[in-house]
Structures are given as C-alpha cells and as structure tokens.
Symmetry: C2
Subunit: 436 residues, 2 copies
Amino acid sequence: MKPINVGILGLGTVGGGTFNVLMGNAAEIARRAGRPITVSHVAAREYDPTQLVGLDNVEICDDALALAQNPDIDILVELIGGYSPAREIVLKAIENGKHIVTANKALIALHGNEIFAAAQQQGVTVAFEAAVAGGIPIIKAVREGLAANHIEWIAGIINGTGNFILSEMRDQGRDFADVLQEAQALGYAEADPTFDVEGIDAAHKLTILASLAFGIPLQFDRCYTEGIGQIEPQDVIYAEQFGYRIKHLGITRKTEEGIELRVHPTLIPEKRLLANVDGVMNAVLVKGDAVGPTLYYGAGAGSLPTASAVVADIIDIARTLTTDPGNRVPHLAFQPDELSDDPVITMDAVQTAYYLRMTVADKPGVLAAISNILSDADISIEAMQQKEPHGGATEVPLVMLTHTVREHSMNAAMAKIKALDTVSGDIIRMRVEQLS
Amino acid sequence: MKPINVGILGLGTVGGGTFNVLMGNAAEIARRAGRPITVSHVAAREYDPTQLVGLDNVEICDDALALAQNPDIDILVELIGGYSPAREIVLKAIENGKHIVTANKALIALHGNEIFAAAQQQGVTVAFEAAVAGGIPIIKAVREGLAANHIEWIAGIINGTGNFILSEMRDQGRDFADVLQEAQALGYAEADPTFDVEGIDAAHKLTILASLAFGIPLQFDRCYTEGIGQIEPQDVIYAEQFGYRIKHLGITRKTEEGIELRVHPTLIPEKRLLANVDGVMNAVLVKGDAVGPTLYYGAGAGSLPTASAVVADIIDIARTLTTDPGNRVPHLAFQPDELSDDPVITMDAVQTAYYLRMTVADKPGVLAAISNILSDADISIEAMQQKEPHGGATEVPLVMLTHTVREHSMNAAMAKIKALDTVSGDIIRMRVEQLS
C-alpha cells in the first residue's frame, strides 16, 4: 500500500520523541499498519539534531502554516502546544483536507468543539490520544473498548507532577513547598507550576474524558478546580489513620441532576489500586454499567510515552483512510448529532463525603456544639478523632469523616462551625470518595 | 445508516449478558455507532426467558448451522464455547461471508490460525476481545493502543479463579484445597477446576496475547503451564517476609533466543500494582519500548463484563464494514504476511530468578554444601533464611531467593542439592520476576 506521509510540527520533547519512534520502530510499525509511515516534513524553530535519528532524509522548515497547506502531507502532527498559533494552524490544515494528530490538551479542551466541527465538515479526523494521560490508551479504551457501556463515572490521577508531590509528601513526611522545589529541580514541575498544582492541566484532560464518557460538548469553563497547595503533612497522616490516602483526582460522574466535573484533592480508601499509584505515574478508573470498574495505568507524560500515543493515532488514521467518515469513531465518542445537553452541575449541587480538620478549644461542650450543627444540617459523622494537645496547648486538632451530603449543606454548616467561639482559624475540608 | 443484524449463538452466561447489553443499552450504542445494532436471530438449546429482556422480537431457533448461513445476519456472535462444533460453525459462517465475534479463548488459541486464514480469504473479520481478560479491552490496547511499540514483555493475572484462591490463601492463611472448595461453592470455580488451577485457561489467553505482542502464529502447544495446587500457606508467608506476593501469572517475553511463553506461580514485589490485584479481578501489565509499563485492570469474567467486550467488538466491526479488508486491524496485530518465525523457547532456556524452599538437617555444614553447589553452577543467592526448628525437630525449612539464572542450570543444581544426605523430601521451586 501507498506510504503515509506525516508532517511533524515541533521537535521539542514530544515532537522529538515522536520523530524517533517513527524512525526507530519504522519496520515494526509497517508490519502492523501494512504500509510504511514516513516523516516527510518537519517544521521546527529549535531542535537538537544530535537527539534525532535519521533527520537527513526529511525536509525541515520553520514555516508551520506552509506545512498545513503542503499537498504532499497526509497527516499533520501538531506538537507545539498552547492555544495560538496551534489553533489557527490546525484549522488551516483541516481546511486543506489533512488529518490531524495532536497531544495538545489545552487546545482540545478549549477549542475542540470548533476544531471537531471543522473536521467533520471536511471529512477528516482529529486524533488526540496523547492529550490525556500520555502513553495510556485511555481515549481508545473509553471511546471504543467500553462502547457497550453507559459510563457511570471516571476518576483519574491525570497529572504526574501533582501525584509525584503527594507521593513524596506521604512517603517522606515532607511539606508541599519543599517537595515542589525538588520536583522543579528534577524537571517534573515547570518553573511556573500553576497549571499542574492548581489542577488546570488535569481539568483540561478531565474535560475531554467527560465528553467522551457522556457525549456532552467540551465545557472546560464549567470544570471546578482546586489545587494541592493547601494540603499539610498532618492531613496526610490523619487520612492514613482513617485508612485513606490523598490523591489529586479528576472526577466526572453522571447524576440525575447532570454531570459532575471536578478536580480536587480527594481521600480514597488505601486498598484501592488508584491509591497505590505513586510518583509521576497516571491512572484512570472508569466505571461502566456492564463492565464494572476498569483501570488503566502508565506514564502520563514524557517524550517516548507521549510519542507512543501520537504514533498509535497516526496508525489508526492510516487504517481509516478508506473508511467513509460516517463510519469512523466519532471525535467525542458519540455521533455529532447525538451529543447530549445534560448540564454540568455546580459544586454546590455535588454530593460527596468529607474530611474536615479544625482547631478547637480543648474543653467540654465543644464537640457537642459542632455535632449539633452537623446534625441540624442532616450531616452524619462517620468517624471523629480529637487529637491530644501538644505540650500545654489549649487548642487541639479535631478531624472527622462525614457521610455523603450535598456541598451546599456542608458549606452552610462549615460557616456556622467557623463562627463558634471555640473554633479558631480555617476549617480544612477535603472530599472523600469510595470509588467502588 | 442501515442497522446491523446480529445473530447470537448461545444464551448462557455470556450469551445472555450480550443479549441484555445489546437490548438494554441499544440507544447508547446507536448514539455511538451511528446506527442501530439489532439482535435479529438467536440459536440456543436452553435458556431462561425470564432473564432476557426483549426476547419477543427475536427469531429463536436451535440450529446453529442455519444461523451461520442465514443471509439476513451480518455478524455471527459465537458464545457456545468449546472446540466443536464451535470451530465448524465459525468456519461455515466465514464461508458465508459473515463477520464473527467470539469469547472463545480455547477456540482461538487452538484453531485461530486456521480461522483467521479463512477469514482473510473471505475478507471478513473475526473479533475476540472477550477471549482474553473478559471486560478489559486488552486486545485493543495491545493491538492498537500500543501499536507504536516493540512490545518487550507481558505479564498478566488472567484467570480470576486462580487469583481468588491465592488472594484467600494470603488474606486468611488458608490452604489451597480448602479455598478451592469455597470457590466452587461460590460458583467461581468449576466442578472440574483443572482448566483454571492448572493454568490451561490462562495458557489459552497468554497464547493469544503473545501472538498479538510479537506477531507470531498462535502456538498453544508450546506454552508451559504449571498450576497453583502445590503452593503451601508457608510459601505465601515466606514470600511476604522477602517482600513478595505469589501470583499465578501468564508471562510472555521476547528474548534474543526467542519467545518465552509460560504460566506458573510467580513471586513479584509487593509494591507492584499487579501484586495488589486481588480476588477474581484480572490485570495485564504490558511493557513497550516507547511507552514503558502500562497496566489494564478489570473483571476477567462474568456475564456483563464479558458482554461489554463482545459488544465493543460488534460496534468495531460495524464501523469497518465499508473499510477495505487490507486496512482493518490485522487479526494478530501484524499483517498476515508479516508474521515472525521467532521460535517459542523451552523452559530449559528461560532465565529467571528463583524462590527455593527445602527441608534440611539442623546442623553445621549443611548451608555450606548447598551454597557450594549453587556457586559451582554460577547461581548467586540474593537472600536466605533458615527458619527456627519447631519443638525438638532436627530438620528445618531453608528458604532462599536467587539471582537470575538459566532454568537448565537451576534444574541441574536442584538435582545435586536433592541428592545431599542432609536435604530431605522435595525442593519447592517458584520463579521470581521483578516486572520493572
């Protein structure tokens, strides 16, 4: 069969890895795909030729828009990242009838609806396996492997930097700022770690997963995000004492009221596989009505793991070149005219259990006052521990787990508790999920 | 688009589940697949109509061969299991131009080469996701999701019955026979548990995975199998003391000498996710050269989980109906004319580390004699523990872990150790894998 010509845009970490996998595994890939897949063109401003194998036979330029219009290219692989000019280049390439492969989660989460509509009109495919959880074929699993199911919920560790920090805090008893600094030194965290530790990167990925699971348009702006910067070592310890671990999860769930879409620190039972995913690794737990829980684990970032997903997408597209567009796997798992208008609900309406930590006066009646407020709000306490005072301290930490309650009620109760004379400072609140 | 007509052969556990998923999730499936997928015909000898939803509009007969030739059926779903008449019916349906979906691991492992050749000639697809690890989309992951990789090895818990027994032995300190009896009472194990506990069922699945990973023809007769019936509670305890857990794994690995294909009890580090997969659940760990390790976890059996995989295959086939056959995903992941003749090597040639337990006389010089035999065979000892004698016993258990060695050398050394006057009874030997 005719070789497929690929144009790669960007030769950074992921672009370089993609180039090297396509070159290094070319024979294996052709044995699978039934035809050679050739990198014919590359557009890159900066690259290190000593890190790239077989660059000699490739046409290199620095004009991305020219690549998007080059008639010799079948598939354009966008690996420059960011919103602009990625969006303009991708739309231009689609206009020129090219299929697209991208690892750009921000682009898909924010501009995916526009991009998929354009692709649909032109009868081309935009593939984005590498945009969620790096090398883990999670998009393929949700979109095709579990296609028989009503998906009930998804919960994932989908940011390696955050998971590395939480794993180190737990294993070493270190505090957040300290570990973040190390992560930056190791290259796991950016100089500006906001995207990772505030949950924005995870929200991009979760937005994509939610659309694939429930067939709703991409709605990044409706995703709730809460970072991990407020977690203290004592919370990690108290969680363990209750039999839980703290993970920064992206959670999306279909309820009768709509779709939950939220990224936040979460206590999960220590026996769950997801609780035992450590370091920079990613894992996604998907619950389908027929299959039950399934979990997918692997490297969520890095040059070669991400390249693995990019190249798998290229092979998939090569295979569907002769398929009429209506028979291809739809971009958002459901046919474009079958998307759902289920609303994304606000956090106020979300129902979960909670971990609470507060500082209370070490004297009689305090517990009763707090318990009464919770009871009046119909919030049941599952477990409670009042810690011993340190030295001669007159205040002690009080930690508790509640049963499931609507967040709106919890917020109201927390405001009342905080107003008590016997409670000082902020109340630390984290959500608790059983994931069963 | 035109509805797809499905004929289901068999309405047992998996057939009934498949029927109910296709009926119950029909709207969701059509939203994904872009067309209705309809069960038009069923052939079954025995079934319980009270367990099947929507049976009224379906034509039911008990003539499987008639179904295989019925011109109204697009996809024949074979869920009767066993070798015969499943093989004859599937071949007849292929001859009649029908696509096949099957959950029959025995059929594929033993007759897959013949069946795929026939399908290739007729330009139809035989899909078998449900044949390996039930609801986990592991075939899709290996064959498509990781298509960019040279697969290095696969290690999987691919028999739920065996994993349930080993989990119970560990958690409760019970012995094999006792737990097997409970598993039979719970319906997890068959009255004749041979296929499960001797590793034959796992060998069927591993044979399939090895072909997908390395592009070799199916060679079930070359798969080494060792059951779990010889494992004693003390081995579980000693393994834990070394930081390991015992799992019944299917392992296939590409080496310079050929392909390893083996099912046996294996000690793996307790920190690995695979070591923490308990009960009847399955999990498969796949190492690719680009992606690194990835793991896939879920229910490996059961009515609805298996149906989830069967129905995903049906949807996949619906999508490729207009694809020319040369562009479809090849049955064994690699193009039929690109299969490899890499040999499957014998256990003699396999290199692993070992756990050994033997009963030795409690007196000086015993350890030295054993150490000398191992040293002469170039076998390094990684850890050794001589246990305390019970009461006035003159013999004690000696347990050890070795470094990696060729099995041929280990067998020779074990024969010499067994011949020592100071060693009595059999030497218990299990293989140890780091899986990193």
